[in-house]
Amino acid sequence: MSAKIISPKTYVLVWLALMILLFLTWGASEINFGVFSPVIAIVIAVIKMLLVVLIFMHVRYSSRLTWVFAAAGFLWLMIMITLTMGDYLTRGTVRPQNKSIPEWKVDTESQSR
């Protein structure tokens, strides 16, 4: 099995990196980058997650089977996000039969606010 022994120093470094990234997240949220705000937040979150999964949880040093299971976790997360966004992103794209086109346009515009 995963016999690789990781020195405590590595864990401390991972922890420090996570702390720095935490402050970065907070700092970035204080400044308004417009559309890039969420992008920056997500990029930092992904780096944090990779640190935890690959090093702290030893996936980097583990067997292929472990990789498969870790990947399955991501696939499932993607299923959840994709199908949920499939609802949010397509709201109001079909005109209800009881609304004329101008009425419906007014409706969708007020909704997207």
């Binding site: 959840m80 499939g86 397509t90 709201r91």
Partner: protein, 551 residues
């Protein structure tokens, strides 16, 4: 009974005590790491929770005898159906078959001495019990009135009941589920006896493997959803309440991402049991082994793509509704594959009707009816008419009682001799199975009609024209109660007075029957070597012997 009783070989010399004799102190039970004993700990716990939730159902059925709300206040009624739902779902149905029969049988069926992580297995039970205690506290302190679905923003902002305590209970027991799933997955990967290849695994194992995948992949989503709901309730952080910047439909997405697959956490283990019972009591090789095995995995996967069918009237986009409706129809395919394969197994088998088989046949019929009415609900247009009516109640009770509970009862009867070393009284068993089947149908079939006529769920009063069906349903519930209480009585009776069980009373294949009843502490005196697939039955052989016997 047309199972041929073989002359039983004399039991092998006892090399170690059986697992029940191995210790009689409370400590020996509470600190055990033996998967068989942990299975029994779970058994006692879930039976306890089952009866609490059943009492709540009984009071509701009594209230519904008359159209007026004359027994309990509407607020109390809300608390009763929440109690019934929460306790039945998370403290009975989800743990039922996996943690009792799965725990007991998975290591034995693959020829292992225990699960991969025995201590983790015990921790699962403690988490489950800790969760159960929180839930009990929430009930005693005054109950919860949100319904088992905890829809926001009512649960997170407005309800004045004990939502946080109940959610904590579910949260904790969820971690018990995750650890159990993890344990099973690793056990199946790592602990198989020599020669036990993947396609020699009993279908019980395949189904439990699929269940474990769902437990591990879905339960964390429930945990985070309840946590977010609690954050909004305690600190007013706007996540689900639109008045503070949240989105209530998001809660439904997250909740059902867990709770639809949770239906398969309940049903797949029951299918696992049925796949063992049908070949044994028709003395026949299972039809389409690989189809059933892969159908389990397909159900586990497809089950994650359909949750939106619970939200058709919650205002999702038209496209999302279409996609979820279409995907929901797809889940019917692997379920139908299983039902057809079981039926094909019966064909030209040497069938007998012992108690476990009665439950199995009941399962096939009721699960089919439950599944097919699910298709009505998956159809967008029909769902608008039927949603939040008694049609839904009837549909999911056909799946959860007709499916899960009958599978659980069938399995308990089948493996009772193995678990306790005693036989239950066969005639009483058959009677109880029949009573359960009749009581169940009388309780829930009228509810299909009620729902179609438009009676909404979750009200303690209703329009007088619905009374006939409600009276039928309550009458059925009292018969069903007899069907549940009878087995409890004769199971306890059999512990002392039952006939001693041989190692293999059903002449079944499967490694768990190759070891004494009850099994020794480490399951097998020596690690079995597997040289053939499961279900090595021969109906022709069996019929020939029967003819010889009757001349």
């Amino acid at each position: 009974m047309n199972i041929i009783e073989e002359t039983h070989p004399p039991p092998p010399a006892k090399l170690e005590p059986d697992y029940l004799e191995a210790g009689h102190t409370v400590r020996s039970w509470l600190l055990t790491t033996d998967h068989k004993r942990i299975g029994l700990l779970y058994l006692f716990s879930i039976i306890f929770f089952f009866f609490i939730a059943a009492v709540a159902a009984g009071i509701m059925r009594l209230e519904l005898l008359t159209p007026k709300g004359d027994l309990v206040l509407s607020e109390t009624y809300s608390k009763l159906f929440t109690l019934h739902g929460v306790i039945m779902v998370w403290f009975f149905l989800i743990p039922s078959i996996p943690t009792v029969l799965g725990n007991f049988l998975i290591p034995m069926m693959i020829g292992a001495r225990d699960v991969a992580f025995p201590k983790l297995n015990l921790l699962s039970w403690y988490l489950f019990m800790a969760g159960g205690m929180f839930a009990l506290y929430a009930i005693i302190a005054g109950g919860v009135d949100t319904g088992w679905t905890f829809y926001t923003p009512y649960s997170s902002r407005y309800s004045n009941s004990h939502v946080i305590e109940m959610a904590t209970g579910i949260f904790l027991s969820g971690f018990g589920s995750i650890l159990t799933g993890l344990n099973f997955i690793i056990t199946v990967h790592k602990m198989r006896a020599p020669g036990m290849t993947w396609f020699r695994l009993p279908l019980f194992i395949w189904s439990h493997y699929a269940t474990s995948l769902i437990l591990v992949l879905a339960t964390p989503v429930l945990a985070i959803t309840l946590l977010l709901m609690a954050l909004e309730r305690i600190w007013g952080i706007g996540i689900f309440d639109p008045r503070i910047g949240g989105d209530p439909v998001l809660f439904q997405h997250l909740f059902w991402f867990y709770s639809h697959p949770a239906v398969y956490i309940m049903v797949l283990p029951s299918m696992a049991v049925i796949s063992e019972l049908i070949p044994c009591f028709s003395r026949k090789q299972i039809f389409g082994y690989k189809f059933i095995a892969f159908a389990s995995l397909a159900i586990a996967f497809l089950g994650f793509l359909v949750w939106g069918h619970h939200m058709f009237v919650a205002g999702p986009s038209v496209y999302a509704g279409l996609v979820f409706s279409l995907l929901s129809f797809l889940v019917a395919i692997p379920s139908a594959i299983k039902v057809f394969n079981w039926t094909a197994t019966l064909h030209r088998g040497s069938i007998s009707f012992e108690t476990p088989m009665l439950y199995a046949l009941g399962f096939i019929g009721l699960f089919s009816l439950g599944g097919l009415t699910g298709l009505f609900l998956a159809a967008l247009g029909a769902d608008v008419h039927l949603t939040d009516t008694y049609f839904i109640i009837a549909h999911f009770h056909y799946i959860m009682v007709g499916g899960t509970v009958l599978g659980f009862m069938g399995g308990m009867h089948f493996w009772w001799p193995k678990i306790t070393g005693r036989m239950y009284p066969e005639k009483m068993g058959q009677l109880a199975a029949l009573v359960t089947f009749i009581g169940f149908n009388l309780t829930f079939f009228p509810q299909f009609i009620l729902g179609y006529l438009g009676m909404p769920r979750r009200y303690h009063a209703y329009a007088p024209e619905y009374q006939v069906y409600n009276v039928l349903s309550t009458a059925g519930a009292s018969i069903l109660a007899v069907g549940y209480i009878l087995p409890v009585i004769y199971f306890i009776w059999s512990l002392h007075k039952g006939k001693k069980a041989p190692a293999n009373p059903w002449n079944a294949t499967g490694l768990e029957w190759q070891t004494p009843s009850p099994p020794p502490v480490h399951n097998f005196y020596e690690t079995p070597l597997v040289v053939k697939g499961p279900y090595d039955y021969s109906p022709e052989e069996e019929e020939r012997k029967l003819e010889e016997r009757h001349g």
